[in-house]
């Protein structure tokens, strides 16, 4: 049975951003849990690459 056009367009426009959002949260959750498992603190933010500081200067 063919799906209605309105449903088809809605699926095309709504599902990909929802998936993008869900996957971001999933990866964030995994990244936050990783330092706790090792028993240590969260690692410090990586320093900016040297030439990007030149970009910003």
């Amino acid at each position: 049975m063919p799906i209605p056009k309105a449903l088809y367009i809605s699926l095309c426009v709504v599902v990909p951003p929802l998936w993008g959002l869900a996957s971001y949260w999933l990866f964030e959750l995994v990244a936050r849990r990783r330092p706790r498992k090792s028993g240590g603190q969260a690692p410090a933010a990586a320093p900016e690459p040297a030439d990007d500081q030149c970009d910003r200067a």
Partner: protein
Amino acid sequence: MPPEIHFSLWGAVLIGLGVGYLAGMLGVGGGFIANPLLNGVLGIPMAIVSGSSLCQISGTSLSGLLRHRRHGHFDARVAVIVLGGVFCGEEAGVAIIGWLKGLGQVELAGGWFDVSELVLRAAFLLMLVFIGGFVFFESRRAGRLAADGRPEAPRAWLARVKLPPCVTPVGGQPVSVMLLALVGLPIGLAQGLLGIGGGVLLLPMLVYVVGVSTHAAVGTDLMVVFIGSLWGTFRHAADGNVSLSLAAALLVTSTFGSQLGALTTTRLPAHRLRRYFSLVVAAAALLVAWKLAGMLGLLPGK
């Protein structure tokens, strides 16, 4: 209505993973490399490729955008202003593609070719060669400066024109709002005509023309790519050009690749990031050239 197409699922999975990684690392939607691969390797019609690719890009780019925003690689004001031009360009691109389709077929080199297919592939190739060459030579110059310990010269070409009102991009000088909106026009045109997200054009433009720092440019163009591709998906879906199964296969795999790619961005110096970007563009250009040559019967054995 959704189109009926048959394609290799494993092929789509591999393309999705590779393109997602590049998209996350380089701050592009990935359509410029995914489209030639899906059309040339999997044999999916260009119209379906454009629609499905934009649909996938809208998901991948949002995921990458959120991550870059968290790292502070983002300039929302610039993105919103550029989007004004993107919407105008996209409408023009859709109108041009309709006009090209109306021209039908043309006889060339002893064969009949679809005018729109021929023109779009040639336009794709020209765009990739220009962008890839420009970024490659500029990144080499920046690499030499970094090796010598000298700072990069300011690049914001747009800042030289003083036309109020102005905004100041992250890491840049004040630029005219009106000129900034014009930057979005070719991006929208590329989305409407070629079915790509437009990041391949926007990233160098943000860095060299607007003067946004390379890492902020990555997040900024992901925002433009996300909103632009969402609008493009709507337009293509209304014409029945989006294959849900192809878009889903690409979306799931490319999202994981995108997260890994975004992590790589923070560990790479800016000039090296731009050099990798140019090499990926060169590979895409070679693929399109090969496909175009095959279409015109210029390859040996054809």
